[in-house]
Symmetry: C2
Subunit: 364 residues, 2 copies
Amino acid sequence: MGVNNSTFELTVLGCSGGPVAGKTCAFLLKPSSISFQEALENELDCILALEAGAGIETIAEMISDCRKNTSSVSSYFSQLYSNAEDPSYYSDNNDLIKTQPFEDVSKDPANSSLQLAKEILNCMSAYIITHPHLDHVLGLVINSPCFTRQTPIYGTQQTIDNLKDHIFNGKVWPPLSYLTFNYLQPYTENFNITESIAVETFQVSHGFTSPKELYKSSAFLFTETNDKGKLLFFGDVESDLSSNTKYNQHIWLTVADHILSKKLKAIVIECSSVDKKPGQPLFGHMTPINLISELLNLQNICLEKKATKHPLAGLNVLIIHVKEAFDHLGDPRKQVLESLRRLNQKHDLRINFTICMPGISYFI
Amino acid sequence: MGVNNSTFELTVLGCSGGPVAGKTCAFLLKPSSISFQEALENELDCILALEAGAGIETIAEMISDCRKNTSSVSSYFSQLYSNAEDPSYYSDNNDLIKTQPFEDVSKDPANSSLQLAKEILNCMSAYIITHPHLDHVLGLVINSPCFTRQTPIYGTQQTIDNLKDHIFNGKVWPPLSYLTFNYLQPYTENFNITESIAVETFQVSHGFTSPKELYKSSAFLFTETNDKGKLLFFGDVESDLSSNTKYNQHIWLTVADHILSKKLKAIVIECSSVDKKPGQPLFGHMTPINLISELLNLQNICLEKKATKHPLAGLNVLIIHVKEAFDHLGDPRKQVLESLRRLNQKHDLRINFTICMPGISYFI
């Protein structure tokens, strides 16, 4: 599945699960048939900001790197871990990867990287947010004075109400007239969030705020309206086993048909840390064992629907939200990937895993 | 005033006023007689985190730069502006500046820059916060899972209540057991916030949340308890002229004696942007004209107290919170500094201005 067969370009501004700030979850999603340069030149309604844990500063850095022909964004982790590797190490499918997604944009000599980053920011059709934790929204907040045109923010009622009541409330941050807030209703029809991307919203569990109160995040199923290719995106999420719910099961039942029809191009999902000792808290997140158990559920549903061997073979599963680690084992992404590859082989799932890296576009 | 005569080391992790994230206001303050290496080795109760708009990621980056003998933190702005200069350009008093404040710490070969940064973070005696805007607290929030020992957070009631009600509320961020919240009462006695630094708290105005409701920030007067040297720190603040209050006047009346007795080593204060056209909103911030009018007030109070010419001569005024700009004039720090120097000369104030830069320690 090379660039030519791809449906979406998913650009990673940040995908860390913290506790290090600066590159937390933020992505741009657009049809891969339109370049950033075309979108900018023609003011196309096609770029969706998906989560907002980083923003204009990272775009400016990526443009600056293009100009210097360096890749400090993708080598960000080599500052943190002595054993960090190049992005290609972290993918079972290197056809997906494109470095320097803003290469064309960066060639404009008249503007600084910061001015160009502001132009890209003001080219967003909308922001869509899974939940209001700060590692998913701080870029939107800090960057908000940069908006020069009305930009809609979308999320479930819980997400939007928390953003309005607790962040853009005049106490933590000023309310800003250029942002408009809009509710997404889970489990309803597709909604055209940009001219060529429709979205269907699901609820997922993301831990408990008290022993009784479940904290909900969202998952989004995006459809490119021309070629009907689909992308399933989870922000933070825990497995049905740890939440004791059927939120993920519901989503797998929905997407199984799209897997069998080869319309589902990728699942983007968190795997926050290496597997823990029994009894250690997961704080509403996934480890490799949890994620593989969810993917085995998905495989079983596909097998029940149609007698085909290895229904997940070749499916791209992109991993986000790995948390930075302070042990002597170095880059936790390597450990998470090694566990996933081992379990993938053990269960003969034949999935292509990719650990996302900041500063890279994935063509899926 | 070289390093040997200094009282404090003020380390700048970030001092941008946004809207670019990553290097917003965050400082470390300690007696200059104790090095970071000594503080770490002996677990000394001496480092105060002052604001928290950046954190462990910036410390790790600074340590990584020491190891590579580069200075990407201090040259951060050269990515954003083609006309950014070295830190020495931005100071009337280059004796203050020390690059690579974590040089000694970085020599530990057994630990990664991230592990060392976590050690420094857990060496903080306390955090003290002027107000709960996210560009002043996001590092504390995102980094909060890194704390391995009880760390107290101090602020006025408004600051602490907003942090608890709107940020660490389980919706925007989980409440974390390792942080304790403590109220500072303005206009009361000095309070020993570390073993060798006492603090006196003041209220200041930082704009209006509605036409009638003033939004308050804080200023802190720090005293090093051994040599009695003092440092006056303002987070975000507007001039008494734009707020129509006497909050700053009250502070100038308090510190005038310390200026005349040469105990006040520096004022750290914001100057967020270049002067604006009449009628343009300031959003509760200062421009060069506002700041000079405040410093003229301070001079007048000093002159009334004692017949001395040029009472502010040689006073170090360190500027923080310059906002990033998107015009074709490039680095706004240069323009702000040029305006301040021109007004300083016009009014014969004889102040030493320094525009703070991230990644640098100032010995004051």
